[in-house]
Subunit: 469 residues, 2 copies
């Protein structure tokens, strides 16, 4: 797991709002409920050029919560408290705020009206237990919650605006967008215009990228922040500028990065420079003609996705003959919607017998060289091409571990063969790791090698030298 | 995601250790990296009868980090700091600790030895940037990190034991189990004797399990705490007792749960009651004879793991003929070390043409019924059995989406066929979901059905009724 590395931009002309977040609940601590709320808020603030500076999670401990609110309100300009507005005995927020601001609790008539309407609309009876939700500190201001039964509320303390919000993500999301963010925006300083460009990179790690930048792009402008995010097995590279002047620098420095990283950069449909940069057999973006290729915003970047797009654009197909990766190459491909246009057959030939039977790998070859050998993967690839009639093939045979290594062929040794009929290439790599990491990485290498062939990439992938036999 | 339901045990006789957790990193705040580390620690502490009382996340702000460490060390008995031990300029932990404890930074010779050995073993050169990892405050004690390049370290401040740990989850997990927890245990107060029993369950969801318990086991003893943890696609069910008397109740209530949940419970080698409970063709544990079947403590529970163990024990093999799951069944199996004993061939027949060519599915059958039909999956399974000579087969054909659904066969429709030659069974399910969730769930269903056959399970899986066509 790697850190986001940022070359700091010059400070904004006004001090940023200090926004902090407090979550309460033992179930959050032990992960029975996953905290997505703080992440949603932090991302939203970041898009506004603001940031969440601190996030605290506490168990259900009343005294601890009161002390924490007091402490945070001394530092923060805005304190968002999430959760604890419900009707059960574990819901402590209203009581804690009452103690912090030194006000009695009372039944809030507006909150009661909202709750009554909510119950009526759904055909519930308003029971005694639920009424606890409308018992709030005196003197607070309500924050509308149109998606839920419990209103939010806010109060001032120690020059901090405290906003108490519901724990349910769908309720918070709407309250944040419709009520809280507009309020904060009116109070946020004038934020510089933020622009972010992202690249997805495969086959070279973050430290290696950093070293390359340090050596070859030593005069990097500090107005362009560089960030790294691990999205294993990819690295996401992010460039951020915070002013219109800085933004003007982006194109030339992006070009330098592309020159430097070459085909390590994965390009997808819709990338800003795809038309200009893709060489060789790719003829340009035919986005609309690639049916079903995207599945909404959540389709993550992957080598497989990139490859499927390229194959579809070229109206070509591929096949995979897998030993040690055991189906993962096929699975990575078929995860992508629309992959049926470019993939028909996958062969998981996990034993020598089946390599021969299914792909016509000669028994003599297996006897002479062993399953993990150049000759065997060549025959596997040839067999897969013949059997499937695909345009491209990749074959993989190696030692995933934890057992099976020897002195001659240690753990992590793998032979790959890839290409078209009559134009096959081979490579031996060594990637000693856990079994699952080996399988994931090598499956992606197999896909990456076909991708680079299609692109007629001139540069060698970094893993060729890093993981050379 | 639901709350952990606990019937509270009586308070421990001594005040508990105040254990707190500090994470640093802007990428954590905005969710670019998901914090699983604190959850792992909190759960582990909970199993020991201790708890994480407070968790703070900060951005990459040096002053803020120093202030936070100071503040937390005043309250906590143990402060675990996670992350910030790497070689980049964002890794601030060593420097922050140095400032807090008022010691200079120096190159730590033991840490350097570890780093050099680490690099040498992997064939790296130790570059300048990496050496920053061994620059640590004077006077700290090292904490071994055998899974990573950066050693951990600890220091005392304000009567608090501060332990600095690596951010990478796999590294932290081992350091926690092997170095930190033993240290803490020697310092933890005498905790009521905690005993935890876990079950891994597939094919029935948490709410359904809870409902079953409420209806059929209504007089559940409050001394046995019931906990649920999502470990998709499994559910982990935990029973915890906190005294020797309560522990005596466990066997009878475990038996009731097993009776109730039947074959939804996955059993693995080493399970306390495996010998007694596995019916039918399974003859008992032959742990040592199953070569390479475990890969240390990290091998997670899965349907595939369970099935591979069963097949190995029976000296049987299986094959998979996959359409919509596209290689994921094969991949799930081959992820398990030792799977080569039980798996030789996987067929990813993603097009109709290849279904016919590779598995002898009749073209007429495809024309008459379509690929997603009972007849086709039967022929796929028969073809796979014949081609591979395996004992067991599973065949799957369905509509993973997002496209491809129709009124007659909506999105999520899938036919499965499983069993032995001459004894094949079929089922049609509907599981409308995202493509990837569909593939993951149905791949596991395919494995689960073979598992249940081997066990000669009498009860039907919950998904048969829940996801009936």
């Amino acid at each position: 797991m790697t850190r986001e590395s940022q070359r700091q931009a010059p400070a904004a002309s006004q001090p940023a709002l200090n926004i902090q977040f407090l979550l309460t609940g033992t179930e959050l601590m032990v992960g029975d409920i996953v905290d997505t709320n703080s992440v949603m808020l932090a991302q939203s603030l970041k898009d506004q050029g603001a940031e969440l500076t601190r996030k605290v999670t506490l168990g259900d401990d009343f005294k601890g919560i009161v002390a924490e609110i007091e402490h945070m309100s001394l530092q923060a300009d805005v304190l968002i408290i999430n959760g604890g507005l419900g009707p059960t005995e574990d819901d402590l927020t209203a009581e804690a705020i009452a103690q912090v601001i030194g006000q009695p609790l009372e039944e809030n008539s507006e909150a009661l009206i909202h709750l009554e309407a909510w119950c009526k609309k759904r055909g519930f009876q308003l029971e005694g237990a639920n009424r606890k939700q409308v018992v709030l500190p005196k003197g607070i201001s309500l924050v509308a919650n149109r998606m839920g039964s419990a209103v939010g509320f806010s109060a001032h303390h120690n020059n901090c605006l405290i906003i108490c919000t519901p724990g349910v993500p769908s309720e918070l999301k709407v309250m944040w967008a419709e009520e809280i963010l507009p309020l904060l925006k009116s109070q946020l300083p004038i934020i510089d215009k933020v622009k972010t460009i992202k690249f997805h990179v495969f086959g070279i790690g973050e430290s290696a990228i950093q070293n390359l930048f340090d050596r070859q792009l030593a005069n990097w402008p500090k107005e362009i922040e560089v960030g790294y995010r691990a999205a294993s097995p990819l690295v996401e590279l992010k460039f951020t500028t915070r002013s219109e002047q800085a933004e003007l620098l982006l194109p030339q420095w992006q070009a330098k990065v592309e020159q430097l990283l070459g085909a390590h950069i994965l390009r997808f449909l819709g990338d800003w420079a795809v038309e200009e940069k893709i060489k060789g057999s790719v003829k340009g973006i035919i986005k609309d003609s690639i049916k079903g290729l995207t599945e909404g915003p959540e389709q993550p970047a992957s080598v497989a996705k990139c490859l499927v797009e390229l194959l579809a654009r070229n109206k070509q197909t591929m096949t995979a003959a897998e030993s040690c990766t055991g189906g993962l190459i096929a699975s990575n491909i078929t995860r992508i919607p629309g992959s049926s246009q470019v993939f028909e057959a996958g062969y998981v030939t996990y034993s020598n017998r089946i390599k021969s039977q299914l792909l016509n790998v000669k028994e003599q070859t297996l006897l002479d060289h062993g399953a993990v050998s150049e000759s065997v993967v060549i025959e596997m690839a040839q067999g897969a091409l013949a059997a499937s009639s695909a345009d491209w093939a990749v074959a993989v045979s190696g030692i995933a571990g934890p057992d099976g290594g020897s002195e001659e062929k240690p753990l992590g040794t793998v032979w790959l063969c890839w290409g078209k009929a009559g134009h096959l290439k081979t490579k031996c790599l060594v990637y000693p790791s856990t079994r699952i990491n080996f399988q994931r990485f090598i499956a992606n290498v197999g896909l990456d090698l076909i991708r680079r062939e299609i692109l007629e990439a001139k540069d060698e992938p970094s893993y060729f030298s890093r993981n050379a036999k």
